[in-house]
Symmetry: C2
Amino acid sequence: MDLALELDLRRGRRIGLEDALRQAIVAGRLPAGTRLPSSRVLAEELGLGRATVVAAFEQLAIEGYLVAAPGSGTRVASIPALGGHADLAAPERRVLHTDLLPGEPDLGSFPRAQWASTIRRVLTTSGDDLFSYDDPRGRRELRVALAAYVSRARGVHAHPDRIVVVPGYSSAIPLLADAFCALGITRVAVEDPCLPPHARALAAAGQELVPIPVDDGGLRVQDLGDEGAVLCTPTHQYPIGVALAPDRRGALVTWARETGGWVVEDDYDGEFRFDRHPVGALQGLDPSRVIYAGTASKSLAPGLGLAWLVLPPALVEPVVQARRRRRAAVSTIEQAALADFIDTGRLDRHVRRMRSAYRRRRDALLSILVPRYEVIGIAAGLHVTVVTERERELVERATSRSIALLGIGDHVVAEQTRSGLVVGYSRAPAHAFAAALERLAAVVEDA
Amino acid sequence: MDLALELDLRRGRRIGLEDALRQAIVAGRLPAGTRLPSSRVLAEELGLGRATVVAAFEQLAIEGYLVAAPGSGTRVASIPALGGHADLAAPERRVLHTDLLPGEPDLGSFPRAQWASTIRRVLTTSGDDLFSYDDPRGRRELRVALAAYVSRARGVHAHPDRIVVVPGYSSAIPLLADAFCALGITRVAVEDPCLPPHARALAAAGQELVPIPVDDGGLRVQDLGDEGAVLCTPTHQYPIGVALAPDRRGALVTWARETGGWVVEDDYDGEFRFDRHPVGALQGLDPSRVIYAGTASKSLAPGLGLAWLVLPPALVEPVVQARRRRRAAVSTIEQAALADFIDTGRLDRHVRRMRSAYRRRRDALLSILVPRYEVIGIAAGLHVTVVTERERELVERATSRSIALLGIGDHVVAEQTRSGLVVGYSRAPAHAFAAALERLAAVVEDA
């Protein structure tokens, strides 16, 4: 294969090669699954040292652009197939007819009429400052509404002055990376597996990633060391689906206190728990060490680009400064609308309605899967994880039948320790969901 | 004075001091106008070398946090008084009763009812993908609408595939800085004077600033050297108000072609020209070297956070990649709404209506100023520049009477070569404008 890479070596050979590969992958010139030449061959072709090529491959693997498959060389990661995340507007994902990807709610259920009337009310009743530049923390009426909401719905200790509104959780990661950097932190732990774009965003903002394995009890807190912070999903580990074991919740907070580390709690689907005793946010255990991150991307729509951080006092100032510096702006009108949507109880009602709908979808999905497979992570969220050693085989079989789903392997940072399928049940349109399940059944039953 | 700076020296002494000062300024602990101790005194107090303190002061002056006033030491810049810009949500500006700051349109004229009905129509008629994650270039229907709009209204050569939607022009600066960096560019020229937050955003993204003076012909193109790019306001220099002289327009494009440099044309108020022969965008002269930047912040409202770049082919990919990496998200619903607002002719009608209103305001303002002062930059935009040697005296006199306006000195990057007042006439509410003029008259007539 001819890679046709144009190397710009002015900032060094390794960086030049990394940039060229990143650009080729992002631009789609190197589609997912493409096998790269071996480091030896590529080094020879490009006139670079082999160590340079190996180092570039390793960096890109950590950032999630490449995956090293034992026995089959280095391949381009299936970034685009990871639908439903900010940096993945992949034409590819529209080609597949049956959408069982995780990451997005049912877009067909967006409360269009209610949102339109909320916007109209906000436009009718707000003062002219609604149209001005945003407060660097986000609009106050939204922060007030959110403080009440996260406290009521998720057990978060919140005050409007410690909330910062951000354009999505993934947009918040660079802000947190900057804030950590301002506090002298250069290494941040991430769960392995996790959502690759989040790890990439952290690395792109200059933080060194330290992957920490996940087991049945969630993040292996005992493996944390002197990292300055950790990004995690304690309520519903993504993608495995387990909740952080109770003793580890305590241990995580103890780690933070004893080492001076920070815990970022990504509560991406906290609203959607189907068991009777919902797990409250970890943040409640120690609001002075845990950063709580919530989002409207699952409860309403990713397109809004609305998320929020509840910060320990010491982090408010560094995060606000990073938000200014990075010019992370959020529409003021939509902020006011979300505040109104919360205050009038519409968000709670919408979440309740969707929770019932998703629970029905989940039950239908489980009726197909559980007879044959161990299925985990079913108590919450918009996806389940199917434990199977034949992950690759099943993903490929699904893909060949135009069914889009992911494997745990698509989420690996450093090392794949368990294998299985990650099946999202929220994205398929309501009218197509039954058919999607039938098609999935044909794949898993044959197997 | 006791600065009470907490220095974190882990990343070095100079950086530690810079960060501490920046944070104190941004947090308001060092208000605008505060005189800092001399570098000698501060070095002694903090136990740092004097060269370290001088270097930190210089860097913060370039970034716009500090100003060195000859004979009166180093002072904290009046950043917050520069109202109407993304990083300036200053409580301070609300204290002043008469608002003659530049930078924001008349927020009271926002077309509330039309925008609400546009949102409703978009929510009623769009497909479900409206609620999904954004395309990394921005939504296609908006890019199509913008290509037609900038071509028609501003003579820009545009194609939807070369447009990238961004959350405001200042949010685009880090993206451009990253794209330049990916092309090996590390030094970018800026106009001196210019809007300080823009220079700061460029510096914060890692580019070295090269200030280029502005004279009666606008940017002194002849002073450009081997910088890899230049940010400029050729149609209506901010804050001086002059248009780039015709021979310099040609020379600027020649500079770009001969050196391989890039020109960023910030067309921040291009819609508001009051003369009969509007100056078309510079970009038309060479769309392969000029990046055109337009915004809805002046024509509609800053709170929307909607702006757009029309890029040379070679820059599309690096800017898109930077937008992904930095997670610069723009509300998909509001993008669709702006597309509809343009397609239905509502934006043009709103701009025409506002142009008449602003022209009337400008004429009223000039009737007060021209008898006594030379006033420049009156052919376009939402501010005028009053040439006067007594800039500081008049700004202080205005401030003491609760009138907020700026001096050219508030916009200096390296060296102040001319002095005068920058008087914005769009921000005062319509009902308060006549009174604002009376109060201004009392200030300038006394003088």
